[in-house]
Amino acid sequence: MPDEKPVLLRVRGVGRRYAGVTALAGIDADVRGGEVLAIVGENGAGKSTLLKILSGVVQPSDGSLEVADASGALRAVELDGVRGATKAGIALVHQELNLAENLDVAGSIYLGREPSRLGWMDTRRMRREARRWLDLVGLDVDPSTPCGSLPIAQRQLVEIAKALSTESRILILDEPTSSLTHREADRLLEIMSALRARGVAVVFVSHHLDEVMRIADRVVVLRDGRKTGELARGEYDRAMVERLMVGRDIAPSMRRAANGAAPVRLRVEGLVSAHRRRAPMSFEVRAGEIVGLAGLVGAGRTEALEAIAGVSPHGGRVLVDGLEVTGGSSVRVRRGIAIVPEDRARNGLFLEDAVSVNMSLAWVDRSSRARLVDRRGERGLVARMIDRMQLRPPHPARRVQTLSGGNQQKSVIGRWLAIDPAVLLLDEPTRGVDVGARAEIHAEVRRLADAGSAVVFASSELEEVLLLADRILVMHEGTVAGELAAHEASEVAIMHLATGGSAAHGAKEHA
């Protein structure tokens, strides 16, 4: 009986081209009040583009949008900019939170439309009214709290309160749970249900199919910019959605049993990262082994990897091939420790520079004679790495900025594969990377390990951990809460340890 629900927004044949490349084509969809509509698809499937069109950030190249007016009749609209969308009752909550950290909660909610009297801001009224919207999203904080002091989950709720405060009837959420813990995500889903009950149309994009399964009344699946399916609740199961998303079967696992006789290449003893003073962690990784660090956001995976790489200071010892390494990243890179950082735009890439510059940065040091760059050798190396990483397009002079996420990540990984590191650390190796590139990256990482390197990677995606890791270290509160061999690992066992369950219990119950 979904037809009883009023259509608030109709998408008709919407498409968008960028520089001649089709990002989205021929999308039809109805967004109904009192319904949660999920949009799913791989990275690069066109989800973000669709959301941007719905929220007026980007104008469609083809097709049109129709928005219901007060009487419920649909009228074609052109949303020119976010302001136009707001006027039409559409509000977008971005994936990256956009709150000004120095403003208080009320100030953030009313940013740009502060209630005023005679030109002076009416702070008291603003806080009073903010209270109303905060109650609606179930956030119990004082409206005068600075946003910067709130945890991410609460900032997200402030964003949603802000969206609702514009009297929006259509709320669009872009990956709302991506940076939340499980419990926080549950809370958010409850709030989404509550909003649905109030007649709001909720549209959300998510990578977490579990969430989609739990809450969505209707799912639109995108692949390569086209709609491959629209399913109403009860008509679908997880496997069906996955097939529509991927259009093929998921790659088989690449993990293998560890070779106990292989030499230990990386040993970490009593590591305490300076960010968080927590219990020390110790582990070792053998040649040819890929170890996955699992755990919830904030469990200390990134801190551990950055400490080992020498990017941030730490206590405890790090040994490569039995010899201790100390000092900063430049010393450690020379000793063979390489890191692929989580935030590649900020810490990994030189966006305005060419692929060749990005890929040869570490190699030029290894191969230099008298500190002079071997320019002919460099050209050859870059050509080989582009080929090996299957970079697309395969142009060494192309600016990294213009590449897709997957190809950007390949540029960073290629930089390290060029110097055959003893230890490769990867932090979220395939975040923002599409499925095809992900498989290629996994294959290259596996090949590096097979050649005798030790690999440690951290991933928030359990699927990836289960797919790639030979051995899994589950982190909780800054240290290793438990270890799982490939054959005994499962999503349940990992989550048990990651949420503070005891190792013995976890192993017994879930092995």
């Binding site: 990243s329 430049s330 390489a338 900020r346 305005e352 500190r371 760059v373 930089r415």
Partner: protein, 329 residues
């Protein structure tokens, strides 16, 4: 090279204007003096560009010029040191000043603007105090040392124009710095550090060391330039010698294609940029504009140049997006 084309065009335009409207512009003596000034300011500008390429700035160049320049005759004449002692001492002191800047910026994480602003005040103050604010000069002596900056080399076949000796260190420095960036690992890494310091650090680039060394090189070149300046002019007052030289240096670097955001440099551009400013100063006087207008004209030219650069960049970016063509670096 591509980055330098714009400034070469501006240089040519101003040069032509000077030729047409400037009385006595094309005389040998004027061009000789102009070459001398262009060479000296180029040395300062090359130093400034080394710091700018890291995303930093050095406002103390003029004061280091003053301190080094004033100390040279002060030690030679008042304290009767030998030239072989004075020159290394002054250069070492300049390098030490740069080292302090570098360490304050990289270790204490102070902002380059503040560190070198304090330097600007500090070194001039020291120079004035040291000398009792008295004019320092060579008293007509030390001709053999001053010859470093005063010698002119005749070109066979040309009568009125001879090449000043300061062109030699300028060219040597420009070539070395050019090779440093195009051929050495450190040059590559310095550019990478300027582009994205964090990514460079994650990639194993010793960013703190490289940035510190750029400040050392910048102050060293400022001190070296200061010495050449004083050899050239013979005497100077601590209160105004080197005033605003840092701005000429920074302006030359920016005109020459260095981005203040860091990560970009064109050595040819910087040298031509320094020359352009000197031709411009010369032209203002020769065409009969009031010399009080000098700063205003330079400011206006700089503004137009930088704005044009930004507009062209945006135009290119938009064209790129429209055609979807592959970007080439």
């Amino acid at each position: 090279m591509k980055k330098a084309l714009g400034i070469i065009g501006i240089f040519a335009a101003i040069f032509i204007v000077a030729c047409i409207f400037g009385e006595n512009f094309l005389t040998g003596i004027n061009l000789m003096q102009l070459t001398q000034r262009a060479a000296l300011y180029s040395i300062l500008a090359l130093g400034a560009s080394l710091v700018i390429v890291t995303g930093g700035i050095d406002l103390s160049i003029g004061s280091v010029v003053c301190l080094a320049g004033i100390m040279t005759p002060w030690l030679l004449v008042e304290h009767e040191w030998a030239p072989a002692q004075v020159i290394p001492t002054v250069l070492l002191m300049s390098a030490f000043i740069g080292l302090c800047h570098g360490l304050l910026v990289t270790r204490l994480r102070l902002q380059p603007f503040l560190v070198t602003l304090c330097g600007l005040l500090l070194y001039r103050g020291i120079a004035r105090w040291m000398t009792g604010d008295q004019t320092q000069g060579f008293m007509g002596e030390f001709g053999e040392v001053r010859a470093i900056a005063l010698t002119k080399f005749a070109i066979p076949g040309i009568e009125n124009y001879r090449i000043p000796s300061t062109v030699i260190p300028m060219i040597v420095l420009a070539v070395l710095i050019g090779l440093f960036f195009s051929r050495t690992v450190w040059g590559r890494w310095l550019l990478a550090t300027g582009r994205n310091e964090s990514a460079a650090r994650y990639s194993g680039v010793p960013t703190a060391w490289l940035v510190t060394m750029s400040y050392v090189a910048c102050s060293l070149l400022a001190g070296f330039g200061g010495m050449l300046f004083i050899f050239d002019i013979g005497s100077a007052q601590p209160s105004d010698f080197g005033n605003f030289y840092e701005l000429y240096a920074i302006a030359a670097a920016v005109l020459g294609g260095c981005s203040l955001r860091g990560g970009e440099i064109s050595v040819i551009g910087v040298v031509v940029g320094a020359a352009t400013l000197q031709v411009l100063r010369n032209t203002i006087i020769l065409v009969g504009l009031s010399s009080q207008l000098e700063f205003a004209v330079i400011g206006a030219v700089l503004l137009v140049g930088v704005a044009a650069d930004e507009l062209i960049r945006r135009f290119n970016a938009r064209r790129l997006e429209r055609t979807g063509a592959a970007a080439s670096a």
